[in-house]
């Protein structure tokens, strides 16, 4: 498993994810601006923002503890691992065996716990408010996300992401009703987990409605840059999970470089379509009150449970 070629392919995939994630965020922002009849920001804006933030001097609150300072690095590390274990270009990657679907959810939970703790560290009203809301979204979204992943793993008989994707990619092109339900549930969960409309608004300036942004209020400079980059990576990783589970065709299998070269443009097309879809969803829906979020995520959870039941009733 741990061969030089495998590790090289793995590092390539990781570097691509790290470098391309802000581009994907830029693309989503661009599509959204188009749909809302605004003039779109350039595609490379997220990189400029990151560059600017890295150059700035961070201002730390006087009572910030070391926990506050290491959290951006930890979250960035978590999201890198997440991007590395999701099969994006190739299925047989060495890190895949380190963490399966359950560990992937655990990884996101680790990042969430650290982010919430860091938000509570300064002791401001908005920070604790954001932490509380984020943890609420977390405990509502996590079961739904795992049920989606479990449906896929029951179909393929494995919780390892590479086996799931390999299995689903090799299946004949037919519609699995369970996967259709799971797909809808997954989309709803990803909206919530990535702090998108209708659960949260990444572009909001109104502190009282913030969730994710409220936790970042005290961050600045390089710390904020890492947090923003990690958020892009998270969005990228979620999109890749969605692609890998629901449109797994064209992902290379076997670790040869030719396959990876072919799968790269395929992935780009799929991501472009996914980003467009995300922008569309965000443009046509309105932000919900925070206590509508349990209903929203409860629906996602029920859909995921339905997907699992349908799998047992119709497909096994």
């Amino acid at each position: 498993m741990l061969t030089i070629a495998g590790i090289a392919a793995q590092l390539t995939e990781l570097m691509l994810a790290v470098l391309l994630a802000p581009l994907f965020t830029g693309w989503v922002n661009m599509c959204r601006a188009w749909m809302q009849n605004k003039s779109a920001p350039p595609l490379l804006t997220p990189y400029r923002v990151l560059l600017k933030l890295f150059n700035k001097e961070p201002v730390l609150a006087q009572n910030a503890s070391p926990l506050f300072r290491i959290t951006p690095y930890i979250i960035f590390g978590c999201m890198c691992l997440a991007a590395a274990i999701v099969p994006t270009l190739d299925i047989n990657l060495p890190f895949n065996a380190a963490a399966d679907a359950i560990a992937l959810v655990g990884l996101f939970a680790l990042a969430r716990v650290f982010m919430s703790l860091a938000a509570m560290d300064i002791g401001t009203a908005f920070g604790t408010l954001g932490a509380r809301r984020e943890m609420m979204i977390g405990f509502l979204a996590e079961p739904a996300l795992l049920m989606v992943l479990f449906t896929a793993s029951l179909i393929s008989g494995s919780t390892s992401l590479s086996s799931i994707v390999g299995q689903l990619g090799r299946m004949e092109l037919m519609i699995y009703p369970s996967l259709a339900f799971a797909g809808v549930a997954f989309t709803m969960v990803s909206l919530a987990e990535n702090a998108r409309i209708p659960v949260d608004n990444p572009a909001t300036h109104l502190e009282l409605t913030m969730i994710h942004e409220a936790m970042l209020l005290e961050y600045s400079g390089r710390h904020l840059a890492l947090m923003e980059w990690a958020a892009s990576l998270k969005l990228f990783a979620y999109s890749c999970i969605g692609i890998a589970l629901f449109v797994p065709f064209g992902i290379a299998d076997g670790g040869n470089w030719l396959g990876i070269l072919i799968s790269l443009p395929v992935l780009a097309v799929k991501l472009a379509a996914g980003g467009f879809l995300l922008a569309l969803i965000e443009s046509v829906s309105a932000k919900m009150r925070i206590f509508r979020a349990p209903e929203f995520l409860g629906t996602a959870f029920l859909l995921a449970v339905l997907a699992m039941l349908i799998h047992f009733l119709l497909e096994s």
């Binding site: 890295f54 399966d100 079961p143």
Partner: protein
Amino acid sequence: MPLQTVLAVIVLWLAIALLGIAFARNLRIVAKILFPLGAAGALVLAAAGFAATLGGTASLVLPLGLPDLPFHLRIDALSGFFLLLLGSVSAGVSVFASGYLRPGEGNAPGLQCLYYHVFLASMALVLVANDAYAFMVFWETMALSSYFLVVSDHAKAEIRSAGFLYILIAHVGAVAILLCFGVLQGGTGDYSFDAMRKVALTPFWGTIAFALALAGFGAKAGIVPLHVWLPEAHPAAPSPASALMSAVMLKTAVYGFLRVMFDLMGTQIWWWGVIVLAVGLATALYGVIFSAVQSDMKRLLAWSSIENIGFIFAGAGLAITFRAYEMRSLAALALTAMLYHSLNHGFFKSLLFLATGSVLHATRERSLGKLGGLIHRMPWVAWLALVGTLAIAGVPPLNGFVSEWLLLQAFLFTPGLPQNYLNMFIPVATAVVVLAAALAGYVMVKFYGVVFLGRPREEKLVDAHDAGPWEKAGLLWLAAGCVILGLLPVSVIDVIDQVNRQLLGQGLGNSSNWLFLAPIKPERSSYSPLLFLAVVALVVLATWYLVRHFYHGRVRRGPAWDCGFPFQTARMQDSAEGFGQPVRQVFEPFFRMRRELPSPEDRAPRYRVTVEDHLWHWLYLPIGRVTEFASTLVNKLQQGRISVYLLYSFLTLIVLLFLVR
């Protein structure tokens, strides 16, 4: 040999207990000599337990007890595993206790030393008992010694009533266990466990024995609805005692349940497992939801223990069902998950209870709403508690995640059971496990964030001091346990597998190498915490280096921004009640809630919300009322006049004469 070693440690502990009385008021000797000695004994006990999991069984007859009724003792892999848990956890707790004892807190230090070490010894004896008589004697010793630990601060009325509730439910449970043994001996009249293993019960009597075992051991473990004593008794006890009760004593109940279900009872019916599973899941969810709304830090941890016991029983339920269907490798997976979780819970829960003890000593405050910002004042306790917090929140790469992962794998493997409905609903029941686990993350963020992070909510917290060297050593030992159990799951499972082999005749085995945890088949699922940690740590270090190298490491300190709001005070942070508000709202039907909201014109507004347990009002208070009513009826017999009592004796005599005639 392990059995003799265990006995030697027990004798040592009892001797320490007696020496404690001799030096009752001498804090120096008790804290700095007796407790560390007990900790050394605990380490030896852990080693003996480990040896017992490797070696075969050994038994011994101890010529104590009643005439013709000696104590039978036996050590095997199952008791060895729990002795390992007891020894390794209590070593840390005892070291901590050396630094924790203070004059003028509750009982004299020597008395605490007595109860504490008798408690330890009785738990070890419960784990090696091999007949019902010895088991019950040790079990009751355990209940009584822990009762005296709970009421250590007996000057307070609420502590006395917590102790009363504890001893009451402990005895209801003990009666159920006694009856269970009565059924298990199957009419042979031989109460040794060896005889019980040979008895084949009919399904009817087997079911009765199962129900009694579940109720009896469940009462001690704190499964819903027998959990009410736990949130009362654990906070009342001094912190080392709460740590021991939560981390180890609850596990002796788990041990007893496993001993009865997997060892003593030959009969197996699949739906017993389903009942245990349902009870376990209900307990887990109930516990974690209540844990989220607590505002006393020890009470929060006590409710969280209920949640973890729920997970452990859910795993046991799955194992029972799998074994009844002869799917032994899957039973081994479920059993591994629950044993692993027992061990994990032992470490992280004792770590957190002890950390609250340090906080309590440093601040004299147990209420979350009056703490905050302690990471600056007590960095050692805070950073070590962070390990426990992450472990209990079930995030990788620490130990809580490993057992959760195994439990979820066991749930996912259920398709393949001969029952279609089980096939369908058990994976769906996984959702409850995941929900409870995610809520545990919420609870722990609340606990850690409110106690250690943010700004101090009270003026006096500025004087809080860090824990002393003994306390630090104890915490460090337990935190190291959390990390090691999290990073080396394959080695831990090798030990647990010996228990599987004993109880199921088949081990789980790890089909991959030491780096990857891969039960059953590597392509089905695998997890490698070391690789996981290595990648995250490498990325963290590389990022840190690159950012410093290409940009700068400058940083400026300033006042907190908070969106430019200048008049912020520490009181504007979330209180414990505020942090629990989403859970109160989402899970409203679970609570019996009373809110007092002031009107907008109120000049001196008071906001109050009380959250209570429905079960207390639906189950316990009615039973209490019925008991009280019955006792008033009986009371009518007592007229307080000697002639009436003589009349009773006379009537009894007449009736008896009539009957025996």
